[in-house]
Symmetry: C2
Subunit: 162 residues, 2 copies
DNA sequence: TCTTGACTAGTTATCTTATAACATATTCCT
DNA sequence: AGGAATATGTTATAAGATAACTAGTCAAGA
């Protein structure tokens, strides 16, 4: 459906995109013996509804409406589980979370955040990660985790105001 | 003194490092007609005291001790000024701020955050920025700003626990 | 000199984001 | 069934950030 996870900014069959990601996540969870419980699963579905990042409290509101707990830890714990197991990412720049578009694959995501429509795409970041490691090497720094995020305009939003 | 801004992890004459950065900032402010007022200057000095990122409230506490206002906007405004004019950077991953090691030069910083000692270095990021733009290009995304941050171990902290 | 406008600094109040700590329930294994 | 581990829920609070208003500063022009 979206093998590069880069279709966020292109028009696509989002219902299929969402269902595919969810099915994939379920398969990965099954394979790894992870418990994709109702709250966790629902949190992931909420993130998958759009190619945007959502704040923890946005997710919490949605969960609460549907009968889950309405206290912050409910959302934070579900999101933490999703992030920890690679089903979602945390977007530091936005204090927000987004569903992962490559669940199960080892990858370093590069987040492209549209400042006009709040759309979010996950570009392949292997090359960026490599050059980051090259920048860190001469200083003797050993990289463990990285956050690579860009803010700008997605294709659809470039027409409007330029 | 530290032409690459990468000495944070190396032993160096920090008093000179700090004074140099401050003098540089003053010169740039003078040249651009910016007002490096007492609060702003003091906030910068506080950031320059160590190669670590400080939270806005840490800076605020220090400012308040010295007779400046003790309400959050006092610190946030001073820090916002410093960031806006390139005297400091915001480290999203830490919800914190750090003095810029290349004031006045156009540059894309890559932040290297040591998870053991909280040290922070600013590596040159031109190559990383270029490959980020290359990753964004195929999606038609126009990059305006970017945050590139890595967490790991600095040279001094790699000996201890490996 | 006076005054006007831009900017700076301070305050109160509030909002948003995140976590600690503890109680209860569920699930898994033996 | 018993017990350990895991998951969910709650209360309370910590930590980070901003809106909106007031008042002081300073420089440029009438």
């Amino acid at each position: 459906m979206d093998p590069d996870g880069t279709l966020a900014f292109a028009s696509h069959d989002h219902a299929a995109c969402r269902d595919g990601a969810l099915a994939h996540a379920e398969a990965v969870a099954e394979a790894k013996g992870l418990r994709l419980t109702p709250v966790r699963r629902r949190a992931l579905e909420i993130l998958l509804e759009s190619h945007q990042a959502l704040g923890a409290y946005d997710v919490l509101d949605r969960l609460a409406e549907e009968g889950f707990g309405r206290q912050p830890p409910v959302a934070y714990r579900a999101l933490e589980f999703l992030v920890e197991h690679g089903f979602a990412h945390r977007i530091r720049r936005l204090n927000a979370f987004a569903a992962c578009m490559h669940p199960g694959e080892a990858h370093v995501p590069v987040f492209l955040i549209c400042s006009a429509c709040n759309g979010l795409a996950e570009a392949p970041g292997a090359a960026v990660a490599a050059s980051l490691r090259q920048a860190a090497g001469p200083l003797g720094f050993r990289v463990e985790r990285m956050s690579i995020e860009a803010v700008g305009l997605c294709p659809a939003c470039q027409g409007g105001s330029e």
